[in-house]
């Protein structure tokens, strides 16, 4: 876990949370004011984690506020010199990548000729994928071509990866070349 400096923004947030607690006591039942102040509650006591936006290549910093095992709020990271806390509409709605009902939350399998997905266990999925990859590699692998060692398979393709972390792209690159894959491409080409 990263240690954030207690910067201006966080200081405001922490003091805001304290003010909100006081306000309930001081304001009695003034609903309007209490409602206005309750906005502070959403990120009070939330954990703040810095991240970098997953959309374009500018690299804006975003702070992710999490509480009770959900993302409650995201905002521009004021400490990041690239965006100084500012975000576009895509960066602003980062939270919905977590909360969207459209997220797939279980591995899904579609059998040959089938018209539907079936939920499967991870273990079964990865075991089956490994078997398919091995089977294809084994019957298509070329060790030598015209007297030259070529160690390749031209029947497996790997596409994509421009939104992955560096460490992930490194492993994709290493695994695919390690298997002998020549059809290795991603979004930079298109």
């Amino acid at each position: 876990m990263v240690e954030l400096n207690l910067n201006r923004r966080q200081f405001l947030k922490l003091s805001g949370a304290a003010a909100a607690t006081l306000a309930v006591v001081e304001l009695g039942f003034n609903e309007k004011k209490a409602y206005a102040k309750s906005k502070d509650f959403k990120i009070a006591k939330a954990t703040v984690t810095p991240t970098i936006c997953c959309f374009c290549g500018v690299g804006c910093g975003i702070l992710v506020h999490t509480k009770n095992n959900t993302v409650v709020y995201t905002e521009g990271d004021p400490d990041n010199p690239i965006n100084e806390g500012k975000l576009c509409s895509k960066g602003t709605t980062l939270r919905q990548l977590y909360t969207s009902e459209k997220r797939i939350t279980k591995p899904l399998y579609r059998a040959s000729g089938s018209n539907k997905w079936e939920e499967k266990e991870w273990e079964w999925m990865l075991d089956t994928i490994a078997k398919r990859a091995k089977d294809t590699r084994d019957h298509s692998f070329v060790v030598e071509e015209d007297g030259l060692i070529v160690n390749k398979t031209e029947k497996i393709a790997s596409l994509g990866g421009a939104a992955l972390d560096n460490e992930e792209t490194y492993l994709v690159s290493k695994l695919m070349r390690g298997l002998g894959v020549t059809y290795l491409e991603h979004q930079a080409r298109i």
């Binding site: 939350t105 078997k131 091995k134």
Partner: protein, 772 residues
């Protein structure tokens, strides 16, 4: 130019508006009057696919009016080099063209050399065979009248842009060119960028703050993923793949001899290659087996995206892994790419969503599931903040992302998926004696014993080790070619120089001078923020101007010092051999105005797009003669008689790329809800189309439905005396998510650039009519 940062890179655009507040000027060149244009000081419209004509005119203007930075050009570019006799240019063809193979013999474009192999030069630039004079002659044909007739840009707008931008050739001024896919996605995409490079070198704008040519990267880590070799022709760090078609590549020694230039920084290539082999194959990489060189696959053809899908379409592929990519929306001629997927036996899609690609077999995709035999495995992936790792932005800043929360549902990080898959395959292959299995069995895969791999071990492997001491390397300067060092990606070596010191995690945001933030994250190479910053100083080592000072030679300290890490050997004085070689990655240390390395000619030359409404005004050659043409059923070509309108694609601010990340969110779907086609008032009138009418757009590849958006942002062009209409549409839509719409790429062609094979999405022919 070819970019609309106000919509597609909004926070970068904030810095442009700040520059404007400080007296800077924004010039926007685009077929459409975009949101960027709206904030610009000067706007010029150009017909899609005519960037070289536009820039060729600027090159001519800067030379004719003596606005180029002569000292910079003489010292830091190959302007003074003498080109050998083989080079010639006649009616659209450079010398050495072979029509049968549609390729050039580049040896015809050689630089004349002295006996010791150094280039022959004329620093006065007067010799007619100097690069400078040949260039001047080449662009003498790009006069403003001809250019205006081709681009459709009014003459006064052209001259406004030329005058404003060439102002930056003055010492103390800088200008940058920001570009994106509007520049690259053409059959002349690479030469479009080359034209930018030429003008920026002429104006002395490279290596300075506020200068350069800046690619606006569209994906958060398209920089990093390219650095890490996710392209068919690259291993990590831009080391070329060994090829069965190059006889020298039969051995490691042959490969290194062939691919390593004698001078320039790439002369260190053997150190990078051997260290990579050590990182991948560990103890299995020895001096005896050429450090495992033969474990790497050697292909015998071009395996780029278009060819990949052509092979799939022709039943040549069996399985595919998709890592967060959606070609059914984002690929060219996307209808054919969707059809091709049905020829696979198995498809693995790793994503946050059920994308159009993962669902290609469904009825809603227009498919008949009972006829598609592909097994599809859809694996739920973690979002970026549900895992840990680094990404590299457009400026090569490698920034760390910490994990904020456990993954949603059963989603897992791609890292864990790749790792577990590798381990399962290792298990399946364990103890196999087959020669075919030795390359994979020799691949080192030691990332801890946990279910998830140890991220830190991966990061350190990328940085590299001194294998004799087991210590992390301080940077790529320490790499050796004898097998005693390792590095998974040499350009990143140095980001993790000591245990516990991953520099991508740095968050010290103090300005370390001249708006550099050297202690925030890490920029490859070696934390240098402005590439080629040696060029910010004159040959003697003094900054060209104090306003634009970056680094300078400190004679007392015998070192380059300044506000940035020198992108140069720090102790190489200006008077020593190589001491003025600012473009140190090139063989002769100079920038290439004349680039004999390109597939389609050493100077950018205008050709019309694959589909064009007019004949080429500059020569009798219509299409770039070095592009590969895929014809037949896979790529139908349209002609102006059926499809008279120029079309292009773009994105809207609320949606990202193929839209899977944004159309699956409620708010962004609400902001940009519908697929539309933007047309001019004049075209609307001709076709009887009103704003918000449903229309059908057709090309030789297919047709789509959309809403018409009638705007003043497009105007008909006058091209060679004739009226030419252009329209545009977003390519963010598909049939999944909250906001649905037809896929623009059903219309685009399967044809690519002569150097990179990037598809020509940005200029094709279409027609439009009302849907009812």
């Amino acid at each position: 130019m070819g970019a609309n940062p106000a919509e597609n890179h909004p926070i970068s655009f904030r810095w442009l508006t700040k520059a404007k507040e400080n007296g800077g000027k924004i010039v926007s060149v685009d077929p459409r009057y975009t949101r960027t244009s709206a904030v610009s000081d000067i706007y010029a419209a150009l017909r899609s696919g005519t960037d070289i004509a536009f820039m060729g005119g600027m090159i001519k203007y800067s030379i004719d009016n003596n606005l180029f930075h002569k000292d910079y050009v003489v010292n830091y570019t190959n302007a003074s080099f003498i080109v050998a006799d083989g080079f010639d240019f006649k009616d659209g063809f450079f010398s050495g063209y072979d029509e049968a193979t549609r390729t050039y013999d580049k040896t015809k474009w050689a630089i004349a050399t002295n006996e010791d192999g150094t280039p022959k030069k004329d620093p006065s630039l007067q010799n007619p065979r100097t690069v400078f004079q040949l260039m001047k002659n080449h662009y003498s044909r790009y006069d403003v009248d001809t250019v205006s007739g081709v681009t459709g840009t009014p003459k006064k707008d052209l001259l406004n842009v030329y005058k404003a931008f060439c102002e930056t050739g003055k010492v103390g001024k800088a200008g940058t060119i920001l570009y994106a896919m509007g520049t690259t996605q053409h059959t002349v995409g690479s030469q479009n960028v080359r034209a930018f490079a030429i003008i920026q070198m002429l104006l002395g704008n490279i290596g300075l703050p506020g200068g350069g040519i800046n690619a606006m990267r569209g994906e958060s880590n398209v920089q990093g993923s390219t650095d890490f070799g996710l392209l068919w022709d690259n291993l990590t760090g831009y080391l070329g793949v060994p090829k069965a078609t190059v006889p020298e590549h039969a051995t490691l020694a042959g490969y290194l001899a062939k691919e390593t230039p004698p001078t320039g920084f790439w002369s260190n290539k053997p150190k990078f290659v051997v260290s990579l082999l050590k990182a991948w194959y560990g103890d299995h990489a020895t001096n005896k087996n050429e450090f495992g060189y033969h474990f790497l696959p050697k292909g015998n053809k071009n395996y780029s995206h278009i060819n990949l899908f052509k092979a799939m379409y022709n039943n040549e592929l069996e399985g595919a892994f998709l890592w967060g990519t959606n070609p059914v929306v984002g690929g060219p001629n996307a209808g054919k790419e969707k059809e091709a997927l049905g020829n696979l036996k198995w498809l693995v899609a790793v994503d946050l969503w059920e994308t159009e690609t993962a669902a290609f077999w469904k009825k809603e995709a227009g498919s008949d599931p009972s006829k598609i035999n592909t097994e599809v495995f859809l694996l739920p992936a973690s979002a970026s903040f549900e895992k840990e790792g680094s990404i590299s932005n457009s400026s090569r800043w490698m920034q760390y992302r910490w994990k904020a929360i456990d993954s949603r549902g059963e989603a897992r990080p791609d890292l864990d998926i790749i790792h577990e898959l590798a381990l399962k395959l290792k298990k399946l292959y364990a103890n196999s004696p087959k020669p075919a299995d030795q390359p994979f069995l020799s691949l080192e895969w030691n990332y801890g014993t946990g279910e998830a791999p140890d991220l830190d071990l991966i990061a350190k492997e990328i940085n590299g080790y001194d294998l004799k001491t087991g210590k992390l390397l301080p940077g790529f300067g320490a790499l050796l070619d004898d097998g005693t060092t390792s590095s998974g990606n040499w350009i990143y070596s140095g980001f993790y120089p000591e245990e516990g010191k991953n520099l991508s995690k740095r968050r010290d945001n103090k300005d370390t001078g001249n708006a550099n933030f050297l202690n925030w994250s890490f920029a490859w190479p070696m934390n240098r923020r402005i590439l080629y910053n040696r060029a910010s100083a004159d040959p003697s080592g003094k900054p060209w101007s104090q306003e634009k000072a970056v680094i300078w030679w400190d004679a007392a300290a015998k070192s380059w010092v300044g506000n940035d890490v020198p992108d140069f050997k720090a102790i190489l004085s200006p008077t020593e051999p190589g001491g003025t070689g600012a473009f140190m990655m090139n063989k002769d240390g100079v920038g290439l105005l004349f680039a004999p390395t390109m597939n389609d000619g050493p100077f950018p030359e205008h050709y019309e797009p694959f589909e064009s409404p007019v004949p080429n005004a500059f020569s009798s050659v219509e299409l770039n003669p070095a592009v590969v043409i895929n014809d037949g059923d896979f790529n139908k070509k349209g002609y102006k008689v059926d499809f008279p309108i120029v079309a292009t694609t773009y994105r809207v601010e609320a949606h990202w790329q193929s839209g899977s990340m944004t159309r699956n969110q409620e708010w962004l779907s609400e902001i940009a809800r519908y697929m539309f086609v933007e047309i001019s008032e004049e075209l609307a009138k001709e076709k009887g189309i009103k704003n918000k009418d449903k229309v059908i757009v057709t090309s030789a590849r297919g047709e789509i439905k959309a809403y018409a958006m009638v705007t003043k942002r497009y105007k008909p062009f006058t091209v060679r005396g004739k009226k030419v209409h252009q329209l545009g549409m977003p390519w963010n839509f598909g049939y999944k998510g909250y906001a649905k719409g037809d896929i623009a790429n059903r219309l685009t062609p399967h044809i690519g650039d002569a150097n990179t094979m990037i598809p020509e999405y940005k200029a094709f022919l279409c027609d439009i009519r009302r849907a009812d």
